[in-house]
C-alpha cells in the first residue's frame, strides 16, 4: 500500500462485447483497484466484467504533433469513396454497371 499507482479501468457491457475504457483511479495494489473500480464505475452502468490495468503496463505510441494515419487521402478505402461511382460511370459514356 505504501506506493500508490494509477490504474486504468475497462468495463464490458455484455458478454462478447469489447472492453471499453471508463476511467482511471489511484490505488495501492491491483486488488484494491478492482474493489474501488467496482464502487466508482459500476454505480450506474452495469458491466458483466471489469479489468484494471496498471498504467505502467501500457505501451504508449510516440506522437510528434501530427495525427496518426496515412499522409495521402485514401478515400477508395472508405465507403464514402464509392458514393459517386454510378454518376461517373454514366458521365464517361458507360452503361450502368452490373447490367450486362
Amino acid at each position: 500500500m505504501a506506493d500508490l499507482g494509477i490504474y486504468e479501468v475497462f468495463g464490458q457491457e455484455r458478454s462478447g462485447a469489447a472492453f471499453c475504457h471508463v476511467g482511471s483511479l489511484q490505488a495501492g495494489d491491483g486488488d484494491l483497484a478492482l474493489v474501488l473500480a467496482r464502487e466508482l464505475f459500476c454505480r450506474r452502468s452495469e458491466f458483466v466484467a471489469l479489468w484494471v490495468v496498471a498504467r505502467p503496463c501500457i505501451q504508449v505510441a510516440p506522437v510528434a504533433g501530427e495525427p496518426l494515419g496515412p499522409a495521402e487521402p485514401r478515400t477508395y478505402r472508405l465507403g464514402v469513396g464509392y458514393r459517386d461511382t454510378v454518376e461517373k460511370w454514366q458521365r464517361f459514356g458507360g452503361e450502368r454497371g452490373g447490367d450486362r
Binding site: 500500500m1 505504501a2 486488488d31 474493489v35 474501488l36 464502487e39 466508482l40
Partner: protein, 258 residues
Amino acid sequence: MAIGSGLDGGLRAVLREYVLTLADDELVLGHRDSEWCAFAPLIEEDVAFASIAQDEIAHAQMLYGLLPDPSGRGVDALAFGREPRAMRNAVLLERPNGDWAYSIVRHYVYDIADDLRTADLLRSGEPLLRTAAERMRREERYHLEHGATWLRALAGGGPDALRRLQAAVDAVARDSFDLFRPLAWEGALVQVGILPQAPSQHWESFAAAVQAAIAPLGLRFTPERPAPHGREGEHTADLAELLATMGEVRHSDPQANW
C-alpha cells in the same frame, strides 16, 4: 406490500421488532460510514465508502418499507422520527468512527454477522424477506471483499499499523455480543417458520468466522460478554447525537413534504 399480514397481533409485533433490528443496524452503520465522505485515505475511497454507505441505507429503506404502516407516516418517520430508546441497532454500530482501522474492522465484522443473518433469511417462510435478503446479498458480497482487501492492506503496513488494527479489533470485540444477543421473542419467529433458527444461535459460528478471517493477518478476535444491550433500546449518548445530526434537516420542519 407489508409482511406478516396473515399473523396475529402479537406475532406481528415480534416480526416488527426483528425487522427493526436488521433495518436499524443498516441505517446507523450507513450513517457512520457516510461520515467518512471527504476524509477517507484516498479520494477514490471517499466515493467507494460513501457508495457502500448508500447501499446500507438503501437496505434499511427497503426493510422499513416491508413493515405495515397503517397510519401512513412512511419510511422517513421510522428512520428519523424515533427516540434512541426505540432504536434496535447494536451499540457497536453507533460508536463514533475513530480511526480508519476501526471503521474498516467494524464494517467487516458486521458484514460477517450480516452474512450469517441474511443467509437464514433466504430460507424464511416469508417470501418478502427472502426477496429482500437476495437483493441485499448481491451487494454485501462486494462489501465483504472491500473490507477484506483493506484489512490485508492495513495489516501489511508495518508494526504500528498492525498495532492500531489489533486495537480496533479489540474495540469491536468488546461490543460484538450485542449482534447476536439472545432475545425473548426469537423463538416465536422460529416456531412460525419466519426464521429457520434463532439469530443468537449464530454467536459461536460468528466469533469463529471472524477469528478465521483475521488470524492469517496476525490478529486475534476475543469477544467479551456482556456487551451493551442495543437491541433492547439501551444506547449511548453517541446514538442520540447521531440521530440528531441525521435528522437535522427533517426536524427543522417535520410537516414539510420532501
